[in-house]
């Protein structure tokens, strides 16, 4: 395993050094050093219906040094590349914010900083990920440990055996890098994976030992699931053939979280190959549920303008074109209300664990 890591690192480092060569060659030929960066936007994303995931197109934008508008970004890209190669050589992993601090300094003889805020350095790291076709993990950049897992699952992490069934109600905090080289799945006896949007609902299910009764792995990403959580779900899905169900709020953002898990995100479409779970199912909260589960109207929240605009955007996305989905979103728009998962507590604190999910699973009431 150590060996594979070594070779991989080697290639990434080579790619980073390639950027320096690009500048040197261009300078020798008296040309403007220019790098091509794939565009990370909806315009450069296609939905592959056969594979059921988002794929990045081939559109690229040129970033050249001798262009007033791009000069600073070009310089910043070189600085980030330098910092990343330093990580490679030292075999360290780091956070986005540390990269920002590492590359920030005041340019000689001026009042100008290389970076003013982290908002400037983060997109550059993503630029490098896509243009070098290297995963963030391969670049040794980790995100926050943003999720938790509990269930009949045994993991190996840095040689430690982690039995996710014996971690109380807190569970195991999912690291941002869960590649086999880092986290090993030793055993999994669950029947399915339940990915919950909100930590509060995950806590409820964990506390009620829902996973034990229904033999599942409970995952949460506290909002938009971070890469580690998505990757872990994908590995469980792929390696243990477990179906994945997604439980989110009934609002446009919930729908989008589901779609990111299923097809991948627009911003990092190139990672869908490795992250997306095209067979993931949307278990709730559906816009049909309030009626079916007799949620009173007064626990709904009125859709605001942003919600409505976002829902209309979703209606146009290629991957929401299935009639069931169109109906689902339109139903929400017609009702003018959104519902939080927490609203289920209106009926009973344990309504989610004892009534809602059991009935959903029994009726196989989910959207694809």
């Amino acid at each position: 395993m150590a060996k594979t890591k070594q070779t991989k690192n080697g290639t990434v480092e080579k790619k980073l050094i390639g950027l320096a060569d690009l500048v040197i060659t261009a300078a020798q030929r008296a040309k403007d050093p220019t790098m091509a960066i794939p565009i990370r936007a909806l315009s450069n994303v296609t939905f592959n219906e056969r594979k059921g995931l988002l794929e990045m197109g081939h559109k690229k934008q040129a970033r050249s040094f001798f262009n007033v508008g791009m000069a600073k970004k070009f310089m910043q890209t070189m600085l980030v590349a330098d910092a990343l190669s330093e990580l490679q050589r030292a075999e360290l992993t780091t956070s986005l914010r540390e990269i920002y601090y590492r590359t920030k300094h005041t340019i000689q003889d001026s009042h100008e900083n290389t970076f003013d805020t982290q908002d400037e350095s983060d997109p550059i790291i993503e630029d490098l990920e896509v243009s070098l076709v290297a995963l963030r993990e391969e670049l040794h950049v980790r995100a926050e440990n943003g999720g938790s897992v509990v269930g009949p699952l045994v993991l190996g992490d840095d040689g430690d055996r982690v039995d996710c069934a014996k971690l109380g109600k807190g569970g195991y905090s999912v690291p941002s890098i869960v590649e086999p080289e880092y986290v090993e799945i030793r055993r999994c006896t669950a029947d399915f994976v339940l990915l919950v949007e909100k930590g509060t609902q995950w806590n409820r299910l964990s506390e009620d030992k829902f996973w034990r009764r229904y033999n599942c792995v409970l995952l949460t990403g506290n909002g938009q699931p971070p890469r580690g959580v998505r990757r872990l779900a994908r590995r469980l899905h792929e390696e243990y053939r477990l179906p994945v169900y997604v439980l989110v709020d009934n609002d446009p953002w919930g729908y989008y979280i589901y779609s990111v898990v299923k097809q991948g995100s627009i911003n990092l479409a190139f990672e869908s190959q490795r992250m997306a779970i095209p067979k993931a199912k949307f278990i709730g909260l559906s816009s049909a549920d309030p009626e079916r589960y007799e949620l009173p109207r007064n626990v709904g929240i009125k859709l605001n303008e942003k919600d409505i605009a976002r829902a209309k955007e979703l209606l146009n996305y290629q991957w929401f074109q299935k009639p069931a989905w169109q109906a689902e979103i339109k139903r929400m728009l017609t009702s003018g209300l959104k519902y939080e998962l927490d609203a289920l507590a209106n009926k009973d604190f344990q309504y989610l664990t004892k009534k809602y999910l059991p009935r959903k699973l029994k009726e196989k009431d989910w959207l694809d």
Binding site: I17, V23, F65, A71, M75, M78, H111
Partner: protein
Amino acid sequence: MATHKPPVSAAKSVFPSKIPPQPPASKKTGPRADSAVTAVEMGARQREISVSEFFTKNRHLLGFDNPRKALLTCVKEAVDNALDACEEAGILPEVTVQLEVVATGPSAVPPVSQATRFRITVTDNGPGIVRQQIPRIFAKLLYGSKFHRLRMSRGQQGIGISAAGMYGQLTTGKPVKIISRTGPKAAAHYFEVQIDTKKNEPLVHENKQIQWEQPRGTQVAIEVEGRYQKGRASVDEYLEQTSIANPHVRLIYRTPEGDTKEYPRAYHELPPSPKEIKPHPYGIEFGMLLKMLHEAKSQTLSSFLSSEFCRVTPALADEMCIAAKVSPKAKPRDIRGAIAETLYQTIQATKIMAPPTNCLSPIGEKAILSGLYKQIKGEFYTAVSRPPSVYRGNPFIIEAGLAFGKAPDGATKPEKPAMPLAEGEQEEGDSELARVIRYANRVPLLYQQSACATFKAVLATTWRNYGIAQSRGALPAGPMVIFVHIASVWVPFTSESKEAIAEYDEIHKEITLALRECGRRLGLFLRRRERAASEFRRRNIFELYIEEVVEACNRLKGGKLPTEKLKAQLHKIASSRTGGIKTDETLGKTGAGPEGLPHSIIVTADGIEGDAPPTPHVSRTIVPVTEVPDGIRIEENRPSSKPGRRQTAKPAPAKRGARRDAAVPSFAKMGSVAQPAGAVRTRRKAQLTRKKR
């Protein structure tokens, strides 16, 4: 009340609308019964009051409201008089102002900030005053030469200096001390005078001949209660502003702290002496007309009209008489009542030529420029003199000037070390607002700015059009001084203390036009500078970043990169991509300035505009040498700038070159000696009597 103000009823009679004061009323009676006073009793109390008494009580009307302002007013009156006298006598003024702290009682001299009593000594090199006139000029209110004629001067009524003396007398009990000498062969006279406030007559305490080192001139010393404080509306500010609007004056100021400041003469030419004019028919009120008719010396109405008013020809006079259905041959004294009123209305309805404007003496664009340039550190100066205009029959001229920026000052300061900025921190922006300096007949106006027509016009001007930020209803923002001057035979002040100019439509319009012209020129300058700066920034960006990129590449390559070579290669690309040598020239890189601007006086900042520079002085290519372009752009290091170092972006076409030659030397000359050729001006030798307001 009664004890405090003995001449109470008399004073009140000035304001007839007020109720006559009641004597101490006998207790519980109603207001009517016992306390009533008979007309006879009242009549016994009614008596005349003298002007001096009136102003003793109402000193705020003359600008003596508080000790600080009083000190300023005294200096101001003395300096204004000195300047008026010198100019009228055709002498380039040299005025020394000295402020000294005076101890009160037996105690030691207090520090300046604590001091409450000052001696003000103002010395000039003017014509001096004949001996007989000295007491009355300095110790009699409303005595002077300026009130009865329509001619532009600083003082108007003849109150100022005697009021200052009176204030001194009132607060310190000390007389005004005067030394005056009318020429090297005449003796110097020393006077100590006070004013008899009851009679408004001078009281001479001391009168002797003395030895005086000055061959000619006048010195006034007044001791007053006052407060000395720097800052807004201070003596210092007044003197500084005086020196801006009067660059022909050499002003020496000895501060109470014992320092000596000199405001040198920057302009070696006296302002043209204004002519006296007769009143214009439009400016006359009905009552005034009646009085004039009554006092007329002329035999016929027609000759009265044509001789007593300006711009009325005998033919026009006849025409007006006929239109008013009066005989042109009628005796002026016989015109009364309804006939007079018809005549008055006819005159107002008749189309009469605007009054002559040679009664005005504008400062002149050239002099304003040198004044601003001398006192205010800036990068760009411009001045506009409007053509004369008329309000209510009084001719006036508006002049505006503008000084922008602070580069020369900043350039001398050592560049402060680059301080890295933390996240969320920003480079300190300039939130400074423009400063407005206002003048009426060359006298700075320091109080009541917001009530003044000039200030309102500055606010009403849309400075944003000229690239200057301006919040709603506020002054424009930026390092800028806006200069506005009104010259008129009769400046319409809003009050007797002469602090703000009244807002006549005609005046407002003229000020606005002048300001807009200044603004346009400033906008032009700013745009040009911005263009040059952005080119520079473009290049600069690459130069800044090349260093970073090369270092990053070097580290990526494991530190084995020939960095100098790579840098040189990149610099070459950068230079070729930003216009190469041509840009170097535009940016003055060859001479290197802080902003890449050449240090010289540039009239046309760059040639991109083509052969027709948009500043309005294009048409002046053929005017005589004495004319100076109205917009002058100055970089640091200016005195040493030689014509050879001057640069324009493009080789100037012959026409522009000629203009430059015409323009620059004359400006350079202002710092040197003589008056420009062709500027011979007739100077009237004024009679050697001191004028006062």
